[in-house]
């Protein structure tokens, strides 16, 4: 028998980002009705088309049922007990970083995302979102020289209405699902990216989402458009303080890739996961979808999901353009009482489309980790191919893992391949590493990183190192 206590100690680690920034905020009252939506829209000085978009979504949401098919099981969410808009108080219009509240800059400093010119990351442009608003976006001017637009979605609504009107909701319609409808009604901020034709984005773009207040939800919205023959790599990180209540996070991300364009979207999700008894933590309900509209376009999702009490997330690809490519690489680590139901949907519509799914689930403690994926071959997806590989690793004997693959093919001339495996870190493997002088903790962490290697290889380099460290941290603790 592996010493269970030892393993449990190893996988329990204190959350490093659990601090709260003490800052004056402007919050609206709890609850949700049409008035609240009008208020949000008014605060953001939105044009009428967007208010209509929100109200229409709200109407649809009211008629929808919260889904219960996921393998999650959680306390019912009281949607009237949530604040739908919360923003740190600051000057009306912040024209430069010098005018941003130092407390906010300090917060992002502490999170390892310095924003000021002297300290900011050299090869990554960052959009920093704090509760409901975007605080700052770095390298905007430099990117603009290449025609790249990188700004908060609120700003894009004002500055680039034609793009917003054309593409917002074009991949994830408001009526898509319960949480997407909610987001469409109340979304506050998020990032907007536009890469013009023939431009290879000169640096990685990144958004960092920080939830600070305990009683307000975060509903961000991200929209990325890659024109013909352009490419971009986009990274997303998230953390939240430790509260003993659950905070709702319902985001929508839409990607659009035109002919020969490629979008790589990487996430490291480290929302607060609740304590070892399952108290507190973020409820993470996210709809992420990419549309490969153009010929030979490519959308690649990679995600490292380590946080949140509940994760409900299926980054998907609609493969419409001929020979377009969709990819999904995922590592999901759950511990204690965390629950994750995550996977992808690859919808093959065009001919000769190709998709790859590699999912690695690691469950420790009493957690439950499910992969749920759909591969659909439409009637016109002649000569299309999918390869799926879903591996689960169990640590200890109280964790569970499930795989729910759905395959739906209407095209006889297409190929779908699915492989799945489950393994447990065996006592013999641990003993082998230990008998070479490698500490128990390091042995566990080496094996977990080894298990995830196929996915880590897909992450941008800085991100891969961070993800590896994050998993090691999650698996760190006091041994012996």
């Amino acid at each position: 028998m592996i010493n269970e206590n030892l393993v449990n100690n190893v996988v329990a680690e204190p959350y490093k980002y659990g601090f709260v920034t003490d800052i004056e905020t402007e919050k609206i009252s709890k609850g949700l009705d049409e008035g609240v939506i009008r208020l949000i829209s008014q605060k953001k000085e939105e044009p009428k088309y967007l208010l209509d978009f929100r109200l229409n979504a709200f109407k649809k949401w009211q008629k929808m049922q919260e889904p219960d098919w996921a393998n999650l099981g959680y306390k019912k969410i009281d949607y009237q007990d949530i604040i739908y808009y919360s923003a740190p108080k600051q000057k009306e219009k912040v024209s430069s970083l010098d005018e941003v509240d130092p407390k906010l800059l300090e917060t992002f400093d502490k999170l390892g995302i310095p924003l000021t010119e002297q300290k900011r990351l050299t090869n990554v442009a960052v959009d920093a979102v704090f509760d409901s608003v975007s605080i700052a976006t770095t390298y905007k001017e430099q990117l603009a020289e290449h025609g790249v637009i990188f700004c908060s979605i609120s700003e894009a609504v004002k500055e680039h209405p034609e793009l917003i009107e054309k593409y917002l909701g074009s991949v994830v319609p408001a009526s898509d699902n319960y949480f997407a409808a909610l987001n469409s009604a109340v979304f506050s901020d998020g990032s907007f990216v536009y890469i013009p034709k023939d431009v290879k984005c000169p640096m990685d773009l990144s958004s960092y989402f920080r939830i600070n207040s305990g009683d307000s939800g975060q509903f961000e919205r991200t929209l990325i458009i890659a024109e013909e023959s352009s490419s971009v790599s986009y990274l997303e990180g998230c953390t939240a303080p430790m509260f003993d209540t659950n905070t709702l996070h319902a985001a929508v991300v839409e990607l659009i890739a035109l002919d020969n364009a490629s979008i790589k979207y990487s996430t490291v999700q480290n929302w607060y996961a609740g304590n070892e008894n399952g108290v507190g933590g973020i409820f993470n309900f996210v709809t992420k979808r990419g549309k490969c509209l153009g010929k030979k376009s490519k959308i690649s999702w990679s995600q490292v999901e380590t946080g949140s009490a509940i994760t409900w997330k299926y980054p998907s690809c609609l493969l419409i353009g001929e020979e377009s490519v969709g990819e999904f690489y995922s590592v999901a680590l759950t511990n204690n009482l965390q629950k994750a139901d995550t996977g992808t949907k690859m919808i093959h519509i065009g001919a000769k489309t190709k998709s790859t799914i590699v999912s690695k689930g690691i469950s420790a403690g009493q957690s439950n980790n499910s992969y749920r994926g759909l591969v659909k071959m439409g009637s016109k997806a002649n000569g299309s191919r999918n390869y799926s590989q879903c591996d689960s690793m169990l640590i200890g004997d109280q964790a569970s893992a499930n795989t729910f693959p759905y395959i739906n093919s209407q095209q006889p001339n297409s190929e779908v391949e699915h492989e799945a495996s489950t393994c447990r870190i065996s006592e013999d493997q641990l003993f082998y590493l230990q008998s070479r002088g490698i500490e128990f903790e390091e042995a566990v962490s080496m094996m977990v990183s080894g298990f995830c290697r196929d996915v880590f290889n897909q992450l941008p380099m800085e991100f891969a190192a961070e993800a590896d460290k994050l998993l090691a941290l999650k698996l760190e603790g006091s041994v012996g």
């Binding site: 003993f431 082998y432 008998s435 070479r436 002088g437």
Partner: protein, 261 residues
Amino acid sequence: MQVKMKGKEPLLEISNLYASTENLTILKGVDITVKPGEIHAIMGRNGCGKSTLSKIIAGHPSYKINQGQIKFNGTNIESLEPEERAQSGIFLGFQYPIEIPGVSNLEFLRVATNARRKFLKKDELDTFEFEDLVKEKLELVKMDSAFLERSINQGFSGGEKKRNEILQMALLEPQIAILDETDSGLDIDALRIVASGIKKIANQETGTILITHYQRLLEEIKPNFVHVMANGQIIKTGGSELALELEKYGYEWTDEMNKNI
């Protein structure tokens, strides 16, 4: 190194060792003393307790010491974790080396080597320094550097796994090496390579225990002592000629001895 050569203090001293797993007693009073420069062979049938003895010395968590003790450099090691034993210079060559998917052999060897070096208060090696060292050691076992890029033992043939064990031994430079059936599953060429590797690593300051069924490894590496094990005990100890007798008369001969105890 802490090796003191005065009067050749024993490296490993196993006395009256009783051990069990899942309430089944496997070792029933084993005594062995290994001094620096000595090579011991332990022979015996399957299930006689040879492998158990090696795992207990290395600290496998499935086995429990019920009586007696194991001293390494004069200290009882019962309370030490397997990694502490390894760092201090105990090496176990596995009969069935374990496959660990996804973990690169090179990275594994480097982390292990540095753990040992740290214990010896030597500087830890960075990736480049380590590559130089490992290339030199690969020569010893005639392994191709392509092995380093693969996952630990994954997809290795039986012979490749065993050579990888000896490579680890060469890197860790243990004070005492227990090699559990390192010869099994090797063809004659591989056996010679492995044996010559072991001989090059062993020296006047180290002790070696070879656990084997067959005489053929002992033709390559001549032991100072041969112990015959049966039913959890050492029933006979002699010089290298004992192995020849075993080869000649077979284990039935030792069964007779066992009955007489």
